[in-house]
Symmetry: D2
Subunit: 381 residues, 4 copies
């Protein structure tokens, strides 16, 4: 963009929570006295959709200011030349990750592809807080990593340190973490409803059938024939049947909740929408449990959470109702088959399913209110 | 449209099958000697999407010529004023159904809403062949009809006569029928794979989980807020959970195949696409059965069928691959959970799921090759 | 939604501008000392898309708090039941406009259909600040209103008082206004580039050809067959040729700039997108003027504006680059025909084209920084 | 696909025109006595969208049977593996063009990229009829070719022989041609209305402003970031401003009609739709001419044409009304500015804008009815 505005121009927002809910009060207690934009952020891999989404969210963040943007193949370019919708932002040009000076960085969002991430994070200064949006540190068992990703894990010691960043479930650990493995989009939408229900023994952990639907941005910005407009519009198809790489992550989380091995049926579908994800989950009720029990448990479990919302009874969540926001909306419905229930869960795959949850995690790690910079309402229509 | 072409202009196509497959040979034996456009067709309810689709398909049909079009609220208008894409056709103007003269009609496609259809069909001359695309004659048990449609059945004697028009399954009965109840779109996509597998005892009829996805045209052309572009684009949502009216139709067909009552879990989803339907069906294998057994059985069962296609092993069917055509493509996949399988089935909801199958049925009823007027390839992209 | 969060929960954001540009410094000088959410806002007609967009934008506004929501046909319902994406907001239920108590309201956004608005605004307490998003006060000449809207103007005295709310052009008048007529979406996208160029005599005011493209949300949430998903997806068409009601508004603004009557060629097109608007404007250069002169003039004219952005040379604006934001991006290109130029201008029709500009205006009227609550970056993809 | 149907299975359609219009009678006189599928067709470049569209159209063609399919990068693959929607067709596998045996080919559709096509066509046996869908033979002046395509023309002698395949305008020459240069999509939609009007001196050939909108399939199936679903959905943008390569082709056709050099203003826009194209053309009336004169002239000019349709007065053509068909629908509207008119023209860019017109041309070249295999009605919705 061609703006004559002084390049020194800056507009910042101070978001102050004055809510009275327990959760929010807890935020209040943190008593943030941080100077504006005083936390210096690096975004590694800024030329993809999760990277640009981090930039979008940080634009209204009062404390986090971006000082380093890397993108090896776009080194030397401005963010506005790669993402014109961000051209109004005054940000450093993108550089190669190897050229980055981390001495003026306090925390990084790592938005790089899996496989390359382990070595890059290994090389970062130890003082940095890191939220890694790739899959490289999500699987606790490095043999699982090798099996599903086809290469040995290159940073096992970091793996031991990494905390899995499903915020509402692992909040306590995340607060003290240095390296957080940000969850995948499907695993987020699936574990948020299932983990509490399995832990409470309200559903069986066998025969969990997950039919998930994703927007195309989950596939990234890489130029692939399969993701052309003409190949995606006005249709739907399943993909990655039995073999999608989010499977071991989902099963890891559910197994921890169940305290036993869990095998799920997971079939993702690609849909003609840019953002959004719905998981339709078909479960068997535990003996004696009812649909209302499930709803009641989720209601209590999430009642102090800002971003996880249980719909009213019978209210069907739509992906449109969370677009652009960090919300997860879920609900539970009776099934026609006795002893079964239907659980629906929707998120924006780029926000709660990626960059939004990453920011939620870094807020936690930095000791500031978890919702800072995340109070966007959904964009509808 | 403003065309100076003589209104008498007519272009017709004679489709002759020279295929050598058993199925096709069987067509050959019918030795059609029918004069062009000699079967006079009435389309009742021509101002909706299934009505206009009948008109589209008949345009290239050699024997069927439209002589009556009804649409009560559009009476007096031309088809081109209601559906400009059909304006090039030389067709009678639409009239109110009560004004229709059926003395020059041999067969009708009834594209009216359920509820009103029973009385209208009751009043038609007995000599007419009828394919009814509404739900009014699909349920054999009139108590089921009353329960699901909220009103008593008004033509029980016609119900007894009606033949359920799932062509590939009930072909023999359809040939001799006077009144065919054309199946719903979801039931077509679901029964085509499941009926043969249940009959062959290859899958269990308990715990069948169906997650279906439909294009918006299935909701018709009525002006509803929920179906506005702005409410549908770029998102997905479930609807009719546990209560969709196609449930009793699906369960009726599966029960007949199983020879016992069947209750299914059926959750439809509305998608941002105009046409297309996918049913993702999660089943338990019968003891001893394998995914390969299922594939092999479907392969043999449908090998002489033109419109039902089993994909190659591992090939995922897309709704885009059947758009605008009468094909149903299906396939079977292994599940991660032992003893389970995943069945995918795609159709165009307006063709094989409605008007195409209706035409296939009327072809059969009139003794002409079943594929007449239906040999359109899918429109992609 | 079923949330156990205390209904008293409130989260607010204080946006403080620390920019160093002249425009921003001017904001600084306003020295806002307003208590949080102290300005009480009524939204009349909250059940349409412009109403819900006001609610979305105000959610992060530090000073404006909604105290009254009206929607005659949805009276008694919560905003969340009509717009589930807003269900997380703690807002008063919608009431009929006649039941509204304006004693606890300081300012209203009037999001009602044209025609009804004049009498409703006439009946409001005189102390209220009003931004009217309808067309009812946009045309200064009430004879024009009667001619284009088919009914006599019912509040001519208010018309004389009303200030036309094209913020960047009429800022000084808006500051002191009580009643602002918020511009239409097309007129906003067209006047922002053309008014400065005509005033500067850089383009001729004759033979201005405007080919505009709009998203469907501009047509509102009313249930119309023409706006069904199936009627809009995967296609484009012109509408309102020569007769669109935004024509007199466009011509009024250009005539004022030209100081003479202006007649434009204006052809809008409806596109398969929910939000977004592009005006492609084909103009004749004034004698001696060059494309570079036009660019240079717009650059200087808008250089201190936050929301109007001139693209870099040759950079093509996309509607996607402004989605969900209050930006207008414009650019000027050479034409192949000597003496002509091509001007492209994009906005989000619901934000800068409606509710965003309305908020920008009310901020001005209330003496707070113009960008308050409007610092959302575009949502892409 | 896994079909047990005999690979010898074949279904063919004989389309016989019995229309009574002059045009159609002329078809009748050709008295086709050709054996079924007796013309052997090669499709060069079958792995792109125009290639697959040729295959789709030929499936119902009575005389043309495909014997050779080439696609260098997909050599050895079946058409069904590259285009699953065509998997039901029994066709030879794709081979490299250099491996093709043209001894069993009578005519070819050349669907290769521009630049490579000239040498490939030069190398073909001289006895073949050729319809080239690339741009390589569209510009009569080889200097123009070099200027716009950045490389010297490699087959000037073929260029002299090539006939420009805008069927309705150059029908007589096409009938006798060996090599037809099939027009581009934009030039087709623009020249069909403009050439007759310019020839008849009803519009001025100066200051013709063309604002065109295209579906994404026009960009082909190549994997480009810019054409990803996420980059195209829910937005619009101009591209190729002043420099689109269809400009010289448009100007060549209009100049021939005007008998003088013509320079147009041409701005294409990319839209979120797979198929379809609209040209909105803003013209100056010739002195004394009226909008009704234009309509009347087009009516008479095209009244015997099957595929070019003038809409009724005031009827707005939609791209949806021609999707999947070979129709061009056009209409003329008054402009608000005195002395101007607005011309709208819509086609399916892959059919009348590419493969459909190519087939129409080859039908002509082979002496069979021009509409053979092309009588598909539009697919709506």
């Amino acid at each position: 963009m061609d703006r004559a505005k002084s390049s020194k121009a800056r507009k910042v927002c101070v978001c102050k929570s004055v809510a009275f809910t327990p959760q929010s009060l807890q935020y209040e207690k943190t008593k943030v006295q941080m100077p504006e934009k005083s936390v210096r952020i690096g975004v590694l891999g800024a030329s993809g959709y999760t990277g640009s989404e981090i930039v979008r969210l940080l634009a209204n963040h009062p404390y986090f200011g971006i000082t380093v943007l890397t993108a090896d193949r776009k080194a030397g370019q401005s963010i506005g030349s790669v993402f014109p919708h961000l051209a109004t932002q005054h940000l450093p040009d993108m550089i190669a990750v190897n050229d980055a000076d981390f001495s003026n960085v306090d925390a990084v969002f790592c938005c790089l592809p899996h496989g390359t991430t382990q070595e890059i994070i290994k090389a970062l200064p130890k003082g940095l807080k890191i939220v890694d949006l790739s899959a490289d540190f999500r699987l606790r068992d490095i043999d699982d990593y090798e099996k599903w990703y086809g290469q040995p894990h290159r940073a096992p010691e970091l793996q031991r340190e990494a905390v899995y960043g499903l915020t509402e479930i692992y909040r306590t650990d995340i607060k003290d973490a240095r390296l957080v493995a940000n969850p995948g989009c499907y695993p987020t939408s699936i574990q948020l409803p299932l983990v509490p229900l399995i832990k409470a023994n309200l559903i069986r952990s066998e025969n969990i059938i997950i039919d998930a639907k994703s927007g195309v941005s989950g596939a990234g910005r890489g130029a692939k024939e399969a993701n052309l407009y003409t190949e995606i519009a006005e249709g739907i198809h399943s993909y990655g049947i039995t073999g999608h790489r989010h499977v071991p992550e989902i099963e890891q989380g559910l197994a921890e909740a169940a305290n036993s091995k869990v095998t799920v049926s997971f079939t993702p579908h690609l849909m003609p929408m840019s953002r959004g994800m719905q998981s339709s989950i078909y479960v068997e009720l535990a003996p004696g449990a009812s649909v209302e029990d499930l709803r009641q448990h989720l209601k209590v479990f999430y009642e102090n959470e800002e971003f996880v919302v249980l719909g009213k009874e019978k209210e069907v969540p739509h992906t449109r109702h969370v677009r652009g926001s960090n919300y997860c909306i879920m609900n539970v419905f009776p099934d026609r088959i006795t002893g079964r229930a239907i659980i629906l869960s929707v998120i924006d795959n780029l926000v709660k399913g990626a960059s939004g949850q990453a920011l939620q995690n870094l807020n936690l790690m930095m000791g500031i209110p978890e919702n800072t910079g995340l109070t966007y309402l959904p964009l509808f229509p």
